[in-house]
């Protein structure tokens, strides 16, 4: 054991004294980082802090300057009735809000699960060698390249209860006994939104997974071929473990995206409580209902929920952003 030195043990701890070149590199790195940090502070940091601040005030859209500090009032406040009973009010006890949270979380998990599986399938196909692969690779990205507003409108026509092509097809093929108002019915609204989102974002998922697949050396599949590993086993024992780091990062990207879904639902199923998400509800309160402070509280909660879910995911999934364990 002692005769051979491990590759890792030969990597000596970095010397305390930094060389001039190293210092120069660190200076350059900082210099390059400054523009991005400034941009982030202006477009992300400042609005975020303002939102959080407003969530603790009674601000209204018509008069932001006159906002008064109300502490946690927007989140939870209570009044004691004469009878002694306590009445709670605020975001944390708002059933509409928790309905939106549930909608969002349900939407995010179902859509990302489907996208991960379908994206993997598409990526595996695109990773295989066949004629016209370049064209197919480009073509498959089209749903993702179309602006959401456009594709949402397109789908809303396809899903239309009177003239939509889906109802027409379903009727002609005998799959439907009567036309369904996909986006308007509470039972099917979420399904409709999910279908469109999965159609739209699977290519993005596929692209990220494909990048991971291409990192896997081809020769180990030949070794597996000689070892007599069945293709299905090859996938579960070799491909999946090796593409896992890329897959986990792809899922986290999509999860973050799905948890703040807004545009698709806003266009496809406006005002349906079956699909109303946190973002849609926050916008409604911020701008439509002139409850700016309450909307800010929702935005803050949304931020908190996403942050917590992401941290839990990274922790549970042992996601590593340094390119995995290869």
């Amino acid at each position: 054991m002692t005769t051979e030195t491990l590759a890792s043990s030969t990597r000596v701890a970095a010397p305390k004294v930094k060389s001039e070149l190293m210092q120069q590199r660190i200076r350059a790195a900082r210099l390059f980082l400054i523009p991005m940090l400034v941009a982030l502070a202006v477009v992300a940091g400042w609005p975020l802090l303002r939102s959080i601040y407003f969530s603790f005030t009674d601000a209204s859209l018509s008069n932001l300057e006159a906002a008064q500090w109300v502490g946690f009032g927007n989140y939870l406040r209570w009044t004691v009735m004469e009878s002694g009973a306590v009445r709670y009010r605020g975001l944390l006890v708002d059933p509409a809000w928790w309905n939106a949270v549930w909608n969002t979380v349900r939407f995010a998990f179902i859509s990302v699960a489907f996208e991960a599986v379908l994206g993997m399938v598409v990526a595996l196909v695109l990773n295989a060698e066949f004629k016209g692969r370049g064209i197919v690779r480009a073509a498959i990205l089209i749903p993702w390249a179309i602006p959401t507003i456009v594709s949402a409108r397109m789908w809303s026509w396809m899903l239309n209860d009177q003239f939509g092509i889906l109802n027409d097809l379903g009727m002609r093929l005998g799959l439907l006994s009567q036309k369904v108002a996909w986006t308007a019915t509470a039972d099917t609204a979420m399904t409709a939104v999910l279908i469109v989102d999965i159609w739209k974002t699977t290519p993005f998922m596929a692209l990220l997974i494909l990048a991971g697949l291409q990192m896997i050396p081809k020769d180990i599949y030949e070794a597996a071929e000689i070892d007599g590993v069945h293709p299905v086993k090859q996938f579960f024992k070799i491909t999946l473990p090796l593409v896992r780091p890329a897959l986990m990062v792809a899922i986290i990207f999509r999860l973050l995206d799905a948890l703040r879904i807004f545009d698709l639902i806003y266009v496809l199923t406006p005002n349906s409580s079956a699909t109303k998400t946190m973002s849609v509800m926050a916008r409604e309160n911020l701008f439509d209902f002139d409850k700016f402070a309450y909307g800010s509280a929702m935005s803050t909660m949304l931020f908190t929920i996403i942050a917590v879910l992401t941290i839990v995911y990274i922790w549970l999934g042992q996601v590593r952003f340094d390119g995995g364990d290869r």
Binding site: M1, E4, L6, A7, S8, P217, D219, I220, E222, A223, A224, E225, I226, D227, G228, V229, H230, K233, K237, I238, P241, L242, D325, R326
Partner: protein, 334 residues
């Protein structure tokens, strides 16, 4: 243990013919080396034997049985790749055991014994719990060989296994492979390399390939002493054989005269005259490069450390019995 027979085997990739009709027999328990310059098709030929590529036409037989369409895993082969091709997410043990765990009918204990036996042969027992990335290049290649041994193959295929290693490791691993062949003398081994030294030191027989065709098959000494063509003569042996054309060759009745550097003597009454361009002193021997008005400088190999000043005029004579004569088509005149 298996004998392998190739009958008029061809392989094309689209319009490109890579293997252009190879007839070859590899005997049971033999160490056969495919050697040739890059692009000669030697690796492709190995991949055809492994079954990783399908042959375009012709027949391939293992022990007299046609295997043209047989899957690689059913041919009883094991392969060692140039890039090791270890599964990066599995430990050394898992890498070596993977093939067996998927095959039916191997008890856990049996697999463990086979892995440990192979690990002991290659002295990698202490690394069994490590991941490939924690090993050096030489250790990884030994794991790859170990994985092949664990499969207990009838045919062992090596695809340039040493070319990713540094010079010292290459020699050490070469000796290990030679030892392995002695220990596993029942196993047929086919080894691809572009390095003629590896070919000479390891092979029972060498198959020299050129441009998709077999140029010559024979023992290392046969190739060294009786090359069937100028190509083989130039490819086998280091330093490269000198080729002398023109008047000097005509005197010997041939178009090209081939003479190895070690078969020339410097004497005062030497037959040919040349000017020293450069001397390479390797300690045990020295190479003297002479300008004799030929296309390439003529190399004379001398024992011991000898240095001639550049520009010195020397007289050299070939050893007559060591002369190789070739006709204009590059074929030997015997």
């Amino acid at each position: 243990m298996a004998s392998i027979e190739l009958r008029n085997v061809r392989k094309s990739f689209g319009m490109v013919d890579v293997i252009k009709g190879v007839d070859l027999e590899v005997r049971k328990g033999e160490f056969m080396v495919f050697v040739g310059p890059s692009g000669c098709g030697k690796s492709t030929l190995l991949r055809l034997i492994s079954g990783l590529e399908d042959i375009t036409s012709g027949d391939m037989l293992f022990d007299g049985k046609l295997v043209n369409a047989l899957a690689p895993s059913k041919r009883g082969i094991a392969m060692v790749f140039q890039s090791y091709a270890l599964y990066p997410h599995m430990t050394v043990y898992e890498n070596m055991a993977f093939g067996l765990t998927l095959e039916k009918g191997h008890a856990k204990e049996e697999i463990r014994q086979r892995v440990e036996k192979a690990a002991d042969m290659l002295q990698i027992r202490q690394y069994l719990d490590r991941l490939p990335k924690q090993l050096s290049g030489g250790q990884r290649q030994r794991v790859a060989i170990g994985r092949a041994i664990t499969r207990d193959p009838k045919v062992f295929l090596f695809d340039e296994p040493l070319s990713n290693l540094d010079a010292a490791l290459r020699v050490a691993t070469r000796i290990e492979i030679a030892k392995l062949h002695e220990e596993m003398n029942q196993v047929t081994m086919i080894y691809v390399t572009h390095d003629q030294v590896e070919a000479m030191t390891l092979a029972d027989r060498i198959c020299v390939l050129r441009d998709g065709l077999v140029e010559q098959v024979g023992t290392p000494m046969e190739l060294y002493e009786r090359p069937d063509s100028i190509f083989v003569a130039g490819f086998i042996g280091s330093p490269k054989m000198n080729f002398i054309a023109g008047d000097k060759a005509e005197k010997y009745g041939c178009a090209t005269l081939g003479i190895r550097g070690e078969h020339m003597d410097i004497k005062n009454d030497g037959l040919w005259e040349g000017t020293v361009i450069h001397t390479e002193n390797l300690g045990a021997d020295s190479y003297v490069y002479l300008d004799m008005g030929q296309e390439e400088p003529v190399v004379v190999r001398l024992d011991g450390a000898v240095t001639y000043q550049s520009g010195t005029v020397l007289k050299v004579s070939p050893q007559d019995e060591r002369i190789h004569r070739f006709d204009a088509a590059g074929k030997p005149i015997r």
